[in-house]
Assembly symmetry: C2
Homo-oligomer: 133 residues x 2
DNA sequence: TCAATTTACAGGTATATACCCGCATCATGA
DNA sequence: TCATGATGCGGGTATATACCTGTAAATTGA
């Protein structure tokens, strides 16, 4: 065991980093995962669950469940597509727009705080290397 | 948005890497998370839930629930500590010992496969930088 | 010694995540 | 046109994870 498990090490820092972002977003009542989903919906709306799952690189059923939470929170509207009755199209509510406006500076702060801790270029290389597995 | 969200990027590669390890371990019926927990119990047994949670950097309740699964799988024995009636001491079963013997070469293979994709030193630096947040 | 505090854990609740199955809808080819 | 197959989604089940609360056991201080 020269090196510890890459996966376990990565999972640890992932949990840790998630906690940092989540704590920053806590006053707004959202998690970093929800922030990310909202931001992606904003950029692609109206967007279907399948499409969003592709973007987020998450299982469709995962996105479906996560979306239901955001829907309950009055942040995402779910309407059946007029073209394809099977599709659910997602759009942001006004409340979500407002929330994103308040969340973005918080996100910027955390990003900068992280950036101060690491070489961004190094980070990118590593994410890239692990990205095409 | 010069840089994408560090947290989301990290969560993505974490999920991806987890899938790689989990797929490799699948024939043995365990996940990389369970492999890690078993290995840590092996090195520290008999170990309490609280102690193990500290080692794994996980919430105590999380370790409690994960352990219950391993217990159901007949991989971990849970016995009350003689000294402290509150403590549950964990030890590996023979079955777990056997399983770890079969899992280790699989783990080594995956580790090497990952190592071929990245600079291990770079990985270490990054994990370190993100580790002390 | 005994009340107050701390510690160890279980269980409730919640999000995040994946896989599988079934159902409804859409598309396609004979 | 109509059977066949592909697609989109919901729900079931399961692990992984955290926070909070309650309970029991241990420790400690007056």
């Amino acid at each position: 065991m020269t090196h510890p498990c890459y996966c376990i090490a990565l999972r640890k820092v992932s949990r840790r980093l998630t906690a940092v972002y989540d704590e920053a977003f806590a006053p707004l009542g959202i998690t970093v995962s929800q922030f990310s989903q909202l931001r992606n919906i904003k950029h692609k709306q109206p967007v279907s669950l399948t499409e969003l799952a592709d973007i987020l690189e998450l299982d469709r059923s995962t996105v479906g469940r996560n979306t239901k939470v955001l829907h309950r929170m009055n942040l995402v509207a779910m309407t059946p597509s007029p073209e394809d009755q099977r599709e659910t199209m997602l759009t942001l509510t006004d409340e979500a727009i407002t929330l994103l406006k308040r969340a973005t500076p918080i996100w910027n702060d955390v990003q900068q705080r992280i950036e101060a801790k690491l070489e961004a270029a190094e980070f990118d290389r590593l994410i890239g290397a692990l990205g095409d597995l």
